[in-house]
Assembly symmetry: C2
Homo-oligomer: 150 residues x 2
C-alpha cells in the first residue's frame, strides 16, 4: 500500500474512485435497519413523497461514499480518519441501480500546532452517479500523520 503523509498532499490534488452500484435490495435493507421511512422502503409511497420515487437513505449514500474513499488512491497515513465536516448535503436522490463514484479535491493542507506528528487535510468529496450528477457534496477534514515532526 502506498501511504501518503501530510507532506505528500498539495492543494489542488484530485483523486477519483472506482464505482459501486447501489442495488434496490440493499437500499431497502439499509433503510429498514437505519432509516425506515416509506420513501426509502416502498415504491408507491415514494412516488407521492418529496423524492418522487424510491430513494436511498442519505446515510446509505454517505456509507457507500466512505467505501469508495477508503478504496481509492488517497490512502492517507494512519487511515481515513474524519475529524468532521464544514458542509454536507445531498443535492439529488440516489435511485435503485445508480452507480456511484467519488471525486476528491484537496482544498487545504495544515500542520497541527499542538501535535507536530499530525495535521489536517481539508477535502471536498463529490459523490456522483453514472450521469456524473452530484448526489452528495461534503467538505470535510481528515486527520493525517506527518512524515517528520519538522
Amino acid at each position: 500500500m502506498n501511504e501518503h503523509f501530510l507532506e505528500d498532499f498539495a492543494v489542488g490534488d484530485t483523486y477519483r474512485s472506482q464505482r459501486i452500484r447501489v442495488d434496490e435490495t440493499r437500499m431497502r435493507s439499509f433503510a429498514a435497519e437505519f432509516d425506515p421511512q416509506p420513501f426509502h422502503l416502498d415504491s408507491d409511497a415514494a412516488r407521492a413523497s418529496i423524492f418522487g420515487g424510491l430513494a436511498a437513505s442519505g446515510w446509505h449514500t454517505a456509507a457507500v461514499t466512505m467505501r469508495l474513499l477508503v478504496d481509492c488512491d488517497l490512502k492517507p497515513a494512519g487511515g481515513v480518519v474524519g475529524a468532521g465536516f464544514d458542509e454536507f448535503r445531498w443535492p439529488l436522490p440516489v435511485r435503485p441501480g445508480d452507480e456511484l463514484w467519488v471525486e476528491v479535491e484537496v482544498l487545504e493542507v495544515r500542520r497541527s500546532r499542538s501535535r507536530p506528528r499530525q495535521g489536517i487535510l481539508k477535502i471536498r468529496m463529490t459523490t456522483r452517479n453514472q450521469n456524473s450528477e452530484p448526489v452528495q457534496i461534503a467538505v470535510g477534514n481528515l486527520v493525517v500523520r506527518t512524515r517528520t515532526a519538522a
Copy 2:
C-alpha cells in the same frame, strides 16, 4: 402517528430518543461493508491506532443516529428529510456495547420564500453514549411541510 408541521415547532423545543446498543458484531460487519479499516475491524490494530481501541465507523454512528431520530417524537410532517448539515463531527469514538441516544434541539424555524408549503427546521442533534458523553454533534436542516400556505 402524531405528525408535526413547521408551525408546530418553536426555537428551543427539545426531543430525546430511546437507546440503541451498538454491538461489536454489527460494528465489525458494518465496517467490513462500508469502512474496512483496521481500527474498525481488528482489536490489536485498533489499539495501535489513533482510536486506542476498536471504534465504530463514524458512518455507523450516523446511521444509528438516524434510526433514533426517525423513531423519536420529532415526527416532522413529510418525514425526516435532511437538506444538509452546517456542522458535523465525532468528538469521541463509539465503543463495542455503547448505548447511544440522541438529544434534538430546535435552533431555527424558517418558512421557504419560494415554496409556501414547506420550510426549514434547523436542529442540533447530539448523539450521546451511556455516560452521556457526546459521540456525534450535527447541526442540520430538515425540510418540513407547513400546515397552511399562509
